[in-house]
Symmetry: C2
Subunit: 258 residues, 2 copies
């Protein structure tokens, strides 16, 4: 896709996600239904669903593409990465949304043949938007965002999944030990943001495609690594353990995973 | 101390801590020195020290009292809880301050004969101030703050120390399992705030007196529990594992610690 077309799409998606933030701020003051999905910790609200429907409609008007989305019938999600795909997480960090009314994000990404074109993460309550992609660069609330310093694990904070740390899955305790400290936020979007902004050198968790699609598009544009624990690019159609990190911290963590 | 005097002190401390926030926001944009204290994770900056000195001078003018402070010669801290004591943490979450320029707090408390009179926690970057005490009530940015709902552990998020979770100290993994999820923020002040605001049902960590003094004053005023893991009030002159929680989550966690 040429740069002119990417810029046209970008301009429209920025407008959509900023308006969507206002929509959610207004809606979250009112009542909404909460339901369990796969476990008592895996929640969905009527607002997740409503917001997904709204975003699908709005994005369809910007560009016709397939949809890979969090909420709804998984059977409707694409089985191939070929062509154009919008990836949507209408509320990332639903548990934080329900319990804190804070620390959650909306994420949108556009992929073509499995490669990231554009990514958007908005911290709804703090009103922080990171937007862009490998070909058009990245902005933080409209201003150019520089790539973060290439800091090693020993000199940085790292975001981890709480349960994976508690059970030392994949030797996570060794990451905790090697780093300056761990943080557990409860929203992949907010964790990705922290890495993109240089506040953490890495984030590792078991993620669905909609949890990492936008972050990966932005990370590539900022010269950060987003891979599985074997160092390979994550499969866009499956859940897997995903690591986003500075180049140094990425190498440090892969070493510890051996 | 009578209510009139408490209100006079409160008014002055609110003014001091709000101005102090502006001072830190300005100062953190410039250069400052970072030094290690007890370990590579335990940092102090020239700003911690400068800010402590500033706060001591300002609080002395409001009320003459002893000082129990984070930075400086521990030998100068009081050896008895009798009389009036100002407790100051000039920058709580110094690692976050250094690495994130976010997620840190200033905390001030006033104790008399070991009992909390007043407490103040300000989230510097988000500009959120919780202020007050058992006799005068609690405000959130100047508006009355109601006590949070008495939610049990199974229905809430809980803040834990990352290393203590990683090493399953005091059976922390069982707290993770029983709760809806763990969060690790890296600042006792911000964690206390989350409990005071009902965003988390509990927070447990190994804390110094200046880490919990303000939070405990505010927690008591909001009908929350702040104790050691044996259910007793923490010693104001020593470090210990401190739990702040709703009454239900407090009972749930003490049960798990048996």
């Amino acid at each position: 896709m040429n740069k002119e077309e990417l810029n046209r799409i970008n301009k429209n998606v920025v407008k959509i996600i900023k308006q969507d933030r206002e929509f959610l701020i207004e809606k979250m003051a009112g009542d909404f239904e909460v339901q369990k999905k796969t476990s008592r910790r895996d929640l969905v609200t009527s607002l997740d669903k409503l917001n997904q429907k709204k975003l699908k409609e709005e994005l369809s008007e910007v560009l016709e593409a397939n949809f890979l989305v969090e909420e709804g019938d998984a059977a409707n999600n694409p089985v191939s990465t070929s062509g154009l795909i919008w990836v949507i997480d209408p509320i990332d960090g639903t548990l934080n949304f329900v319990k804190q009314r804070d620390n959650f994000a909306v994420m949108i990404a556009l992929y073509e043949d499995g490669e990231p074109l554009l990514g958007y993460i908005i911290d709804v309550v703090q009103n922080i938007l990171i937007a862009g992609g490998p070909d058009i660069g990245v902005t933080l609330n409209g201003k150019e965002l520089q790539q973060p310093e290439n800091v090693s694990l020993v000199n940085g904070l790292v975001g981890l999944s709480g349960p994976m740390l508690a059970h030392n899955m994949f030797n996570f305790v060794s990451i905790q030990e090697a780093s300056l400290g761990v943080r557990v936020i409860g929203s992949a979007g907010i964790e990705f943001m922290r890495v993109l902004l240089g506040k953490q050198v890495a984030y590792v968790s078991n993620l669905h495609p909609w949890d990492f699609a936008a972050g990966r598009a932005l990370a590539i544009a900022l010269d950060l690594m987003t891979t599985n624990l074997d160092g390979k690019a994550p499969n866009m159609l499956k859940s897997s353990v995903v690591l986003v990190a500075t180049k140094k911290a990425h190498a440090d963590i892969l070493d510890l995973m051996d």
